[in-house]
């Protein structure tokens, strides 16, 4: 039994190692690390996922970790090919703006995304425009621009994997990542 368990561990780690070492040997770039917000990859081998533990430790004492706090909502949604902030989105942004104004050392990333329709590079630009729209509202509400970092993933990191309006509506979004 013990031998078997040991074997499994060796096997598992060799698979992980293989996963890492199979990037082209001639390039220096490593496979980029695990991500906290990737909705499409939920690793079942959770032993390697140290970023989750960090996130847990950081939020433990904060209203950010309270699932009933309005701050628990961290995504705002958009219409197709649009970057206008909708009324329900404004509310979400307002709660976070208040929190960020009161906690001026906290920085967040505004991650812009789009649905799969249309072309990828246009969607990349559209994702950035959505993130910028959220940034504008937040700075108007008193958040310092230095607290806000913008990045667009375009349609490359969908939150829902389907090919219909149900999935698309969830993918046209800006995520507020603490």
């Amino acid at each position: 039994m013990n031998v078997f368990a040991k074997g499994t561990v060796v096997l598992l780690s060799s698979m992980m190692l293989w996963g890492c070492s199979s990037t082209p040997k001639t390039t220096t770039a490593p496979v980029a690390g695990t991500q906290t917000t990737a909705p499409v990859s939920t690793p079942t081998t959770s032993t390697m996922n140290d970023t989750d533990m960090n996130a847990g430790a950081r939020m433990a004492t904060d209203e950010l970790s309270d699932p009933n706090s309005p701050l628990a909502k961290r995504t705002v949604y958009f219409d197709f090919d649009k970057s206008d902030i909708k009324p329900e989105a404004r509310q979400v942004i307002e709660h976070h703006s208040k929190y960020l104004s009161a906690n001026s050392s906290t920085r967040i990333v505004l991650q812009g995304h789009g649905d799969e329709r249309g072309t990828r590079e246009y969607n990349l630009s559209l994702g950035e425009r959505r993130a910028r729209a959220v940034q504008q509202v937040m700075t108007l509400m008193g958040v310092s621009p230095s607290q806000l970092e913008l990045v667009s993933y375009g349609e490359e990191r969908p939150a829902a994997m389907g090919h219909d309006e149900g999935a698309w509506a969830l993918n046209r979004r800006v995520e507020l990542v603490y």
């Binding site: 074997g7 060796v10 096997l11 060799s14 698979m15 992980m16 293989w18 996963g19 199979s22 990037t23 082209p24 040997k25 001639t26 390039t27 770039a29 496979v31 980029a32 690390g33 695990t34 991500q35 990737a38 499409v40 990859s41 939920t42 690793p43 079942t44 081998t45 197709f80 090919d81 799969e116 329709r117 249309g118 072309t119 990828r120 590079e121 246009y122 990349l124 630009s125 559209l126 950035e128 425009r129 910028r132 913008l150 990045v151 667009s152 993933y153 375009g154 490359e156 990191r157 090919h163």
Partner: protein, 435 residues
């Protein structure tokens, strides 16, 4: 312990092997063939060790010509005879089969030195149209088969064949071993064989673009958690970061002379078109507008670029001189026109035409402004011409998967190219002719 080690090693090799197989593409012709020119391609003769040569040349040539949509090869079982060179050909047999053209050939080997001979005959004139003999190593047999396809194609259509060219494409797959999504950029022969991994990452990769000499690929990588433009040598795997300004570094496109890269940068607030001189990195800004300006593509003479802009409220195609100036709108039909690229002769552009619900491959004849929609799928992306201008390769969605597809310029022939393993393939770009 030793046993365990052996086992782990075996598993490692198995996984590695499956990692290679994973990228392989299969091609299925989904539409058209009627009207193709019948041609009889006889299995090649073989003189060498073993029962058969390592590659079935006639089979590769048959598949190439069939895929082009211009030919309708006679099924092997309908061949009345199996000649392997001209002296054995009885032309009457082939007139009975109804094939105006006949290909015969043979392969012989001494060690790793292969000799491949083929002849193309006009069955009605009872004469040889062309014929070649090649001396190659085993590893070059597939390439020689594609070369033979090129020669036959050009002899019979008058158009240059592109069977020896390669495509680059992006895959997105979840690995069973660790349940993590990986993005990868591959280069493969246009029949899906010989996939070569260029780069793999847990972060997205997008927008591959071939340098005009076919040696390098520019692409957008999120490895540093934001979009950055990389240029990588396909043969040495050496790579460098060429644009990592704040904001978006996207949509790289090589100038036809290979000295410049057009790109979309948002470092000054929103996406604008820039041209970077590859040697030295000097930047020249082409557009200045509050709208999104992205997806630049060069005209073959290097004097103009087309790009996507929503300056009119919705994404449309615009044209601008390569040294800047006023942009003029090119597309007017439809609510969404984006990601244009030129045909090799510069007379047409292909782009995505959409109405919000369906997005299809379109071609515009620039002289007349006539637009033709070539596909009737729902979510097409990334169209680009083959280097001989006869086909357009693009990405689409089929049965909930991202697949590659190709369509002939007249829309008559369509093929679907998909990964053998689960996962999505997308953003195909057809490489240039290579010497």
């Amino acid at each position: 312990m030793n046993v365990l080690r052996t086992w782990v090693l075996t598993l490692f090799i198995l996984l590695l092997w499956s990692g290679v197989a994973r990228a392989e593409l299969t091609i299925e012709i989904t539409k058209g063939q009627q009207g193709g020119l019948p041609i009889a391609i006889v299995p090649f003769g073989w003189q060498g060790a073993g029962v058969a040569p390592p590659q079935d040349i006639a089979k590769i040539v048959t598949a190439d010509l069939e895929r082009s949509g211009r030919f309708d090869p006679v099924a092997t079982r309908d061949l009345l005879a199996r000649p392997t060179d001209g002296s054995q050909v009885n032309f009457r047999d082939w007139r009975l089969v109804g094939a105006p053209h006949l290909v015969v050939g043979k392969v012989s080997a001494v060690g790793d030195n292969y000799t491949v001979q083929f002849q193309l005959f006009d069955v009605y004139k009872e004469s040889q149209k062309t014929g070649y003999t090649f001396q190659v190593k085993e590893g070059e047999l597939r390439a020689i088969a594609h070369r033979i396809s090129d020669i036959i194609y050009e002899a019979l259509t008058g158009e240059k064949g592109a069977f020896g060219t390669r495509i680059a494409y992006v895959t997105s797959t979840v690995w069973q071993a660790n349940n993590v999504r990986y993005y990868a950029l591959y280069v493969a022969d246009i029949d899906g064989y010989n996939p070569q991994l260029i780069i793999r990452s847990k972060e997205p990769l997008m927008s591959p673009a071939w340098s005009p000499d076919g040696r390098k690929l520019a692409y957008v990588s999120f490895e540093s958690r934001r979009p950055v433009i990389m240029v990588q040598d396909v043969f040495t795997a050496q790579r460098e970061k060429v644009a990592a300004f704040s904001g978006i570094n996207g949509a790289p496109a090589w100038s036809p002379d290979g000295t410049r890269l057009a790109m979309s940068l948002s470092k000054d607030g929103n996406s604008e078109i820039y041209v970077m001189h590859v040697a030295g990195g000097r930047l020249q800004r082409l557009t200045e507008h509050l709208a999104i300006d992205t997806e630049p593509a060069w005209s073959p003479d290097g004097r103009k670029l087309v790009f996507t802009s929503d300056r009119g409220g919705r994404p449309q195609i615009y044209r601008i001189a390569a040294d800047g100036g006023k942009a003029e709108r090119v597309t007017f039909d439809g609510r969404y026109n984006a990601r244009a690229s030129f045909s090799p002769d510069g007379k047409r552009i292909t782009f995505i035409n959409g109405d919000g619900n369906v997005f299809r491959v379109a071609v515009m004849e620039l002289a007349t402004g006539n637009v033709q929609i070539l596909t009737n799928s729902r979510l097409d992306e990334s169209p680009s011409f083959s280097p001989n201008g006869s086909m357009i390769i693009y990405a689409t969605e089929h049965a909930n998967r991202g697949v590659l597809a190709a369509v002939s310029l007249d829309g008559r022939v369509q093929q679907r190219i998909q990964l053998q393993e689960a996962g999505d393939a997308r953003e195909p770009v057809w490489g240039p002719f290579t010497k």
